[in-house]
């Protein structure tokens, strides 16, 4: 019996999320005497997954399938699950995987759980912890169906190396490719070069405390020093200081980096709803009463226009050691 993971790629390289899925799958596989198999399309470095416990990669080399289409990829994963006899299938929470997930759940007739944050619990039935109420609660959710589909919350389990010997197979599923016509991609707008919010280990975010769009230079510089992505609060996206793609919050993006740095952001509940999956939060704000200080791990009370340039200098020195 094997646990199946849906491995995504970026520019042909296995995505970070796939390594986290593999780590989770391997940990559970070891407990239950199973193997971990990965399925994906266009994985040029498929063998990199062996390092994380995957013993077989079903890699689709068909050119059409290298472009994501939720329906085509759902067919691909369903066929892999069928071929491998997998009862447990794992996907990430990327935009693509979330889109594909419910289509796949319907195909597999699988009980489907999202925002999963832990391995299945010990005990008789199959129960996992998941985040609910926008991260303000945890629900122990039992999956009652034979086939089970879990969508892992990003950065909740971690990436663990557990090397095994493995093989890569040229997987040739039967796919109805008319779905690429039904959903015809006419254009893709993607910011190249910049670190994307969904992948970033560190995010530098700023809000109204910066007083104007002309002051964002130091935010971008801090992000550059840290190799971080930039984000912002809703008010500054709404008034056009920053692009909407940077808006993090309840109706914006949900992020879960290792470190979220909030500068000149008070910490309204709607903002926290987007960032409380972060492993660590650092708040820099002039107002000691700012609600964010109650939610964060580290804080500096001070004028951002002094603290941030100072921090940039010190970080540059630190990185040069």
């Amino acid at each position: 019996m094997s646990i199946l993971i849906y491995a995504e790629q970026q520019n042909g390289k296995v995505a970070k999320s796939a390594k986290e899925l593999a780590s989770y799958a391997k940990a559970y596989a070891d407990k239950t005497g199973q193997d971990v198999v990965a399925v994906g399309a266009g994985l040029e470095d498929a063998d990199s997954l062996f390092q994380y416990g995957v013993s077989k990669v079903l890699n689709v080399n068909d050119e059409t399938l290298k472009t994501f289409n939720a329906f085509a990829h759902a067919q691909m994963v369903a066929q892999a699950a069928d071929q491998q006899g997998s009862g447990l299938i794992l996907i990430s929470d990327s935009n693509d995987a979330v889109y594909m997930g419910s289509i796949l759940a319907d195909k597999l007739e699988a009980g489907y759980v999202s925002h999963v944050i832990g391995l299945p619990e010990d005990g008789g039935n199959f129960t996992v912890k998941r985040k609910v109420f926008s991260n303000k609660g945890i629900a122990y959710t039992e999956v009652l169906s034979d086939k089970k589909l879990l969508r892992l919350a990003k950065n909740s389990f971690g990436i663990i190396e557990n090397p095994v010997s493995g093989s890569v197979e040229d997987f040739k599923p039967e796919i109805d490719k008319s779905v690429y016509e039904t959903y015809k991609i006419t254009k893709v707008d993607k910011a190249t070069g910049k670190v994307s919010l969904s992948d970033a280990d560190i995010i530098v975010s700023a809000g109204r405390g910066l007083k104007g769009p002309e002051n964002w230079g130091m935010i971008e510089e801090l992000a550059e020093v840290l190799g971080a992505a930039t984000a912002c609060s809703k008010p500054v996206a709404d008034i056009g200081w920053r692009p909407h793609t940077e808006h993090v919050g309840q109706t914006g993006k949900q992020v879960a980096p290792n470190l979220y740095i909030a500068i000149g952001i008070s910490g309204a509940i709607q903002h926290l709803a987007g960032v409380n999956g972060s492993k660590n939060m650092l708040v820099i704000n002039n107002d000691p009463e700012a609600p964010f200080f109650k939610a964060a791990d580290y804080g500096v009370v001070g004028d951002a226009f002094e603290v941030v340039p100072n921090l940039i200098e010190k970080l540059k020195a630190f990185k040069n050691q």
Partner: protein, 250 residues
Amino acid sequence: MRILFLMSSVPDTTSKINFTDNNTKFDESGIQYVINPHDEFGLTKAMQIKEKTGAELVVLNVGTAKTEPVIRKVLAIGADKAVRIDADPLDSYFTAVQIAHYINNHDEFDLIIAGKESLDYNGGMVHGLVAGMTGKHFINAVIGLELKDNNAVEVAREIDGGKEFIETSLPLIIGGQKGLVKEEELRIPNMRGIMMARKKPLEVLPAVEATVKTKIDKFEKPAPKGAIKLVDKDNLDQLIDLLHNEAKVI
């Protein structure tokens, strides 16, 4: 043209989340319910299309009688009629079965608009399950939609790092979010709308028999955060030390 708006009623964002009955149930006491924030963008888009094309707009909710005040807000914003399927939305699969049954047994809907995810149970899957059960086209994380001639529709979906434009055709189900319309365009009920809503039909239908594929055994609150470590602004070396050696993030 017929538009179906799938509405979730969720606790307002500022609600305190607690559990009762030995942590097996969500504590509803004192909770204010609202239209799910992601749904609101889809509702405003539906109203814009309705005003442009004369489309009929129906709002559908799977819920107990407790959701009716929220459903009436949607009627007040301008939907023509409402349908409540009388059931507790036990899990996403159960809820999808109810919605799919309604869709499959009524006059065709050209556009079915849901929110990307409801902010209570954060499933984000009912819309796609309904698409599977009804055979209709489906696109998720929709941040733009333009109806074209001959049932064609151009949709923008959010992808990691940007957006993708897709051309497809009606009938279409979407999981919508902010971007479908701008924040400042969001409709709210006005007095006239509230008055008119009282005369609009709110049909209550029984649920069809369906199983569940998941169930919640118990809840808990996340572990409380430890006290924040405040660092003096003149001692940023200490901050870097904490981030490097303690948090291990740099």
